[in-house]
Each structure stands twice: as structure tokens, then as C-alpha cells.
């Protein structure tokens, strides 16, 4: 589904990704771990199409198609979803209206009619239930005054509504208490299928206890320096990142 080949990317002339290779197949869950500043969020933003990042070299292929020239919204229409580490507050736009607009614009891009209001409401109700979101919450301004946990739950709610092919969860666990973590993870697990894939970016093992990865990669200094299975995450939890740094340095 997603194939990243020798990806180099920079922001303001500073190279952050220095040759990433990654292949994610449908039905898989990949975790990307690594110390602060290793390039995890940059990788997520580059896949989602943030314009400030310059791809210097390499390719990002989605279902075999190079998506580098596509705008962020076009990637979204192709099924890429990024759950933000810091979701943006947009005063004056309600959660419901935002998600309606996002869904209908995606449908428009695919040549489909707007989703009938009745179906939309039904879907909103179901997905809100799945994430244990209060209906009142949906008429509030997007992310404005939301707690950290509410913001993250709202991100996964949007993911549930948009039903992406490739979901990238950027530190979705940060700011979540254990109950919220369980709700969010449960939501993600319910949305998982053999046709979609999830990339979980995290510092910690704890989210991976709930969303179990098929593969774990360690990103350090703009490169994937180690890949393994879920046991690698446990090892990192126990030993920290220093031994990786040493291995790479050596």
C-alpha cells in the first residue's frame, strides 16, 4: 500500500529525513519509535503533504502511485489520514460541520454526490458512540477549549468518519489518561481491517499494548536504524534508546 524509497526531506534547508525506506502492506500495523528530534513527526507530515517540507530525493508511493506532487487534500482523498500530535483549534467551525465538509469534499473529489443528511447523522451517531463522545461535544467549535484527551479522541472520531486507507497516528497517546487511551485504542482496533493500514508513531510502549504492531521501526537521526517485531518495542521500553544510538554510532 505504502512504499517509501530512500526519502530525503528538509525544512528551511535543514535536512531532517536522510534516506527512509519503509513498506507498509494492507492489513498491517507499523509502529515508528525513536527519541525526540529523530524525525518521526516530520515523516508523518511529509506523507500527509505539508508544504513546508521539501522532498529532496526519493519517492512516496501509495498503491504504486507517486504522491509527491499531490496536495494534502488530494492525498486525503486517496485515503491518507494524519492524526495530529497537536490538533489545531478552529473557532467558529463546529466539529459536525467540519467533518461534514471534509466527507462531502472527499466525495466530490471522487465524483460522488453529497452524503444524504440522514446517513451522515446516523454515521456521526455510531462513530461518536464508538469513541464514547458526548453529542453536545459535536456542536462545539473544533478543538477550541478541548482538553488534550478530547482533542485526541476527536481526531480518532474524524478518522472513523473518513475511513482512511492509511492512518498515521502521530503521538496520539500523549496527553491521554489510561481510560482515554483505552477508548482511543479500542476505536482504532475496531476500524482496522485487512484493507487498511495503520502507522503508529509513539515514544512509549503503552499504546502498543493496546494497538499491537506487526512491525516496529526505530527512527534515529532521520533514518530507520532498526526494525523488528513487537518485542523490539518492549526492549526499547526497558533499555531506552542509548544502546541504539551506540549501535548506530559504532
Amino acid at each position: 500500500m505504502l512504499e517509501i524509497k530512500d526519502l530525503h526531506a528538509s525544512v528551511d534547508g535543514k535536512e531532517i529525513l536522510r534516506g527512509i525506506n519503509l513498506e507498509v502492506k494492507a492489513g498491517e500495523v507499523h509502529a515508528i519509535m525513536g527519541p525526540n528530534g529523530s524525525g518521526k513527526s516530520t515523516l508523518a507530515s511529509v506523507i500527509a503533504g505539508k508544504e513546508e517540507y521539501e522532498v529532496e530525493k526519493g519517492q512516496i508511493l501509495l498503491d504504486g502511485q507517486d504522491i509527491e506532487e499531490l496536495a494534502a487534500e488530494e492525498r486525503a482523498h486517496k485515503g491518507v489520514f494524519l492524526s495530529f500530535q497537536y490538533p489545531v483549534e478552529i473557532p467558529g467551525v463546529s466539529v459536525t460541520n467540519f467533518i461534514k465538509t471534509a466527507i462531502n469534499e472527499t466525495r466530490k473529489a471522487k465524483g460522488l454526490e453529497d452524503m444524504p443528511a440522514k446517513d451522515m447523522l446516523k454515521m456521526i451517531r455510531e462513530k461518536a458512540e464508538l469513541l464514547e463522545i458526548d453529542r453536545k461535544f459535536l456542536s462545539r467549535s473544533l478543538n477550541e477549549g478541548f482538553s488534550g484527551g478530547e482533542k485526541k479522541r476527536n481526531e480518532i472520531f474524524q478518522m472513523a468518519m473518513l475511513e482512511p486507507k492509511l492512518a498515521i497516528l502521530d503521538e496520539t497517546d500523549s496527553g491521554l489518561d489510561i481510560d482515554a487511551l483505552r477508548i482511543v485504542a479500542n476505536g482504532v482496533n475496531k476500524l482496522k481491517s485487512k484493507d487498511n493500514a495503520v502507522i503508529v508513531i509513539t515514544h512509549y510502549q503503552r499504546l502498543l499494548d493496546h494497538i499491537v504492531p506487526d512491525f516496529v521501526h526505530v527512527l534515529y537521526n532521520g533514518r530507520i536504524v532498526k526494525s523488528g517485531t513487537k518485542e523490539l518495542a518492549h526492549e526499547l521500553e526497558e533499555k531506552g534508546y542509548d544502546w541504539i544510538k551506540e549501535e548506530v554510532g559504532a
Binding site: 505539508k50 482523498h77 465538509t101
Partner: protein, 437 residues
């Protein structure tokens, strides 16, 4: 000939068309003298520092338009809020158009200034109210000197006017360049409530300059909701001077929506002559190209226990320029005044600009007054957030702009007007929006 000289010399010709023996004509005579003396404002005047009329005054305007050109309702329907039942006072090239209008004398007077100025039954109201609150600057005096036609609305006490009143001035382009000077008088007596919508619309690209003066009197416990829809062609300029005199416990709200026009200047003055009242001044301005919009407001708190709320939003694209000059004056006697003012602006281009100047002059010591002004750009991180969810750039921009203007749009009390304004904004931004905010 300079426009000023042309106007002054045409005053004699104008006198042939009105009753020179009426007391109103003394007022006109006085006014033409003031105009002769003061003339048009220039950038040397503090209140016109950021707005130059030079490019507007250079045309050779017809001051007395020739015969009325007929227009059909179907041609101009889109300029009305047509999905609601309303009274209509319609003018074409400055002349009253009866077949498009729907006036009334049934308990209330919704009719013409020309009748009010000439018929005895209106004499008392005219004597008490005409030119009593309008400012005496050069431009308003010019309008007063040539005052003859416009809307006349008198709502006697205890009337809830069920239908809004639409005042629309069309210009047809029959003249190569046309100057219009409509004069409106609105008197709302005790306990009465009225909603008014005003629009100036030119139908061709010939230059039009409108110098409009409106006087509004809201007597004890009256409620007046007034909406100005300014979405004219970029060949048309508007100088609108509206003055509001409020009596105790009255509520007056003014919404000014400015999306069109070459140059638009709104002078909006509120005088609070009484206690326990409030005044609301809201505005949304969205312009581009080389358009210029100048909002000049004054709220004069004269007596205690009153409120005023001002909220002006501006979005400026391309090389457009804006001015907000908002003055709040609180007299020494006006204790317990609550006066709020905010002016928020978004500049969409490096070449657009806004001059925002809040002025507070407070002579009372027990008041709550605040003002705030912001100038910024569209939030890039919000743009990426929305686009990453599949909302295209143009729609994402529009969504942010709607959100930015939303609290003003929300304060519109007639849903059809809110819908129409939303549509005008969507057209202006080139989006077919599927969201309702």
C-alpha cells in the same frame, strides 16, 4: 468645471423643482452655504486621512438624471431579499419607482421623502426630525441642500411592523456618470419595532457616486434593526452617513456588510440621549482588487447606564485597503457605561492594508470600556489541518473566513438575510459551500 462648482451652480436649477417657501428650504439654503464653505473633504482632514476622494470626484457626473429607465422585477429580483414578504421603497436613478415598490399608510407610513417634504400631514414630523441629527460636515450638507427624495418611514407608537422594509436604490447607467443623493428619514416611536434593509445597486459599469444621508430616531423603548448590504459594482462608490438618535431604553442595531464598490465610506454616528439603552454596530467587510472601504464610527454615551457593542471584521485581499476609525465618547454624566469595541482584520496579500484606529474618550470614572484590534493572516497550521482532512485549499480558506465572520453573521436576526449574506460571501470567495455554520 470642478464637481464642487458644478454642484453649487446647479442649486438654482434645483430650486425650480422644489417648494422654496417651505421651512425645509431654509434648511437647504443653510446647507448649500456650508458646502460652499467646506467643500469636499481632503486627506488634510483628520477624519479622511486614509481615504482620498480624488479618483471618485474626477468624473463629470450628471446631477439631475434624465427620464427614468424602466426595469423589470425579474431583472433585479436577485438584489432583493425576495424570499420574505416585505415593504419596498425602490428608486431608479434617484427617482421613485412605483411598480417595484410596495409602500403603505396603513397605521404606519412607509413612503417617500418627496411626499413627506411637501404634504402638510407630515409637516410636524419633518419639523421635529428633519436634519436634526445629521452631521453638518461638507458632504452631509451637500446632501441636505439637495434633499428631495429618499425613504420616509414613520412608525407610530406600539407597532410591531411584521414585515421588514427594503430600501433599494438602483442606477441604470442611463447617464455616462451619475451622482445620487438619497435622503432617508426614519422615525420609530415608543415601543415600536422595525427592521430595515438598505442597498445601493448599480446595473452597469458606468461610474456612480452616491452621497447618502440617513437619519434614524429611535424613541423610548423602540427597537430598530438595520442592515446595509453593500455589494455594488467596482465602478460605484458610496458615501453613507447615517446618524442615529436614541431615546431611553431603546435598542438599535446596525449591520454593515461590505463586499463590493470601488470606494465605500460609512460614517455611522450613534447618540445616546437617555438611560438604559444599547447600540450595536457590527460589520463584515470582504474586499479585493483595488477596493477601498472606510468605516468611521462614533458612539456618544451621553447619559448613565447604557451599553454599546461594536464588532467589525475585515478581510482584505489583493491590493485592497481598509480603514476602521471607531470613536467612543463617554460624557462625565454617563456613569456605568459599558462600551465594547473590537476590530479584527485578516490580510490575504502583502499588498493589502488596513488602518485601524480605535479612539476612546472617557470623562466618567465608573465605566467599563474596552477596545481591541487585531491584524493577522490566515492561520497556516489551520489550513494544513483542514486540507489534510480532504478540504481543498479554496474551501478551507473560505471556511476559515466564515468562521472569522461567524459571530457577526450569527447576530443577524432575519435568517433570510444571513443566508443571503452567506451566499454573497461564498460567491465572492468562489466556493460552493456545503457547510452551514
Amino acid at each position: 468645471m470642478e464637481l464642487k462648482d458644478k454642484l453649487v451652480s446647479s442649486f438654482m436649477a434645483f430650486e425650480n423643482t422644489v417648494d422654496v417657501d417651505s421651512p425645509v428650504h431654509d434648511v437647504r439654503n443653510e446647507a448649500i452655504k456650508i458646502f460652499e464653505d467646506k467643500g469636499f473633504p481632503s486627506k488634510r482632514d483628520e477624519a479622511w486621512k486614509y481615504t482620498s476622494l480624488n479618483s471618485v470626484l474626477k468624473h463629470d457626473y450628471s446631477v439631475f438624471p434624465k427620464q427614468e429607465k424602466a426595469i423589470e422585477y425579474s431583472d433585479v429580483k436577485k438584489y432583493f431579499i425576495h424570499d420574505i414578504d416585505s415593504y419596498k421603497i425602490i428608486f431608479i436613478d434617484g427617482k421613485y419607482c412605483s411598480h417595484l415598490s410596495q409602500t403603505t399608510h396603513d397605521g404606519i407610513d412607509v413612503c417617500l421623502m418627496s411626499s413627506a417634504l411637501s404634504k402638510p400631514k407630515y409637516q410636524l414630523i419633518i419639523e421635529n426630525y428633519f436634519n436634526k441629527v445629521a452631521t453638518k460636515d461638507g458632504l452631509s450638507s451637500l446632501n441636505t441642500a439637495f434633499s428631495k427624495e429618499g425613504a420616509y418611514i414613520h412608525i407610530p407608537k406600539n407597532k410591531l411592523v411584521a414585515k421588514p422594509i427594503q430600501i433599494v436604490h438602483f442606477s441604470t447607467g442611463n447617464e455616462s456618470a451619475l451622482m445620487l443623493q438619497p435622503r432617508n428619514l426614519i422615525v420609530v416611536d415608543e415601543n415600536s419595532h422595525v427592521q430595515i434593509i438598505e442597498r445601493h445597486q448599480s446595473l452597469t459599469d458606468n461610474p456612480v457616486l452616491t452621497n447618502s444621508v440617513t437619519e434614524i430616531f429611535a424613541n423610548k423603548r423602540a427597537i430598530v434593526d438595520y442592515y446595509k448590504i453593500q455589494n455594488d459594482k467596482e465602478s460605484a462608490s458610496l458615501i453613507d452617513s447615517t446618524s442615529v438618535n436614541q431615546k431611553r431604553e431603546s435598542h438599535v442595531s446596525m449591520h454593515t456588510f461590505t463586499f463590493g464598490g470601488k470606494l465605500t465610506r460609512n460614517n455611522l454616528n450613534f447618540y445616546q440621549n437617555g438611560e438604559r439603552m444599547d447600540s450595536t454596530l457590527n460589520g463584515v467587510t470582504i474586499i479585493g482588487n483595488k477596493q477601498h472601504v472606510d468605516h468611521n464610527t462614533l458612539v456618544h454615551h451621553i447619559e448613565p447606564n447604557c451599553e454599546s457593542h461594536q464588532d467589525y471584521k475585515g478581510i482584505f485581499a489583493d491590493q485592497s485597503t481598509g480603514v476602521f476609525n471607531g470613536k467612543v465618547l463617554v460624557n462625565k454624566e454617563a456613569q456605568k457605561t459599558n462600551a465594547f469595541q473590537s476590530n479584527n482584520n485578516i490580510l490575504l496579500s502583502d499588498k493589502a492594508s488596513i488602518n485601524s484606529k480605535p479612539q476612546l474618550e472617557i470623562f466618567a470614572d465608573d465605566v467599563k470600556c474596552s477596545h481591541g484590534c487585531t491584524i493577522g493572516q490566515l492561520d497556516e497550521s489551520a489550513m494544513f489541518y483542514m486540507r489534510s482532512r480532504g478540504i481543498p485549499e479554496k474551501e478551507a480558506k473560505a471556511l476559515l473566513m466564515f468562521a472569522f465572520s461567524n459571530n457577526v453573521l450569527d447576530s443577524v436576526k432575519i435568517p433570510e438575510i444571513k443566508q443571503r449574506i452567506t451566499k454573497i460571501i461564498a460567491n465572492k470567495l468562489g466556493v460552493n459551500i456545503g457547510f452551514d455554520l
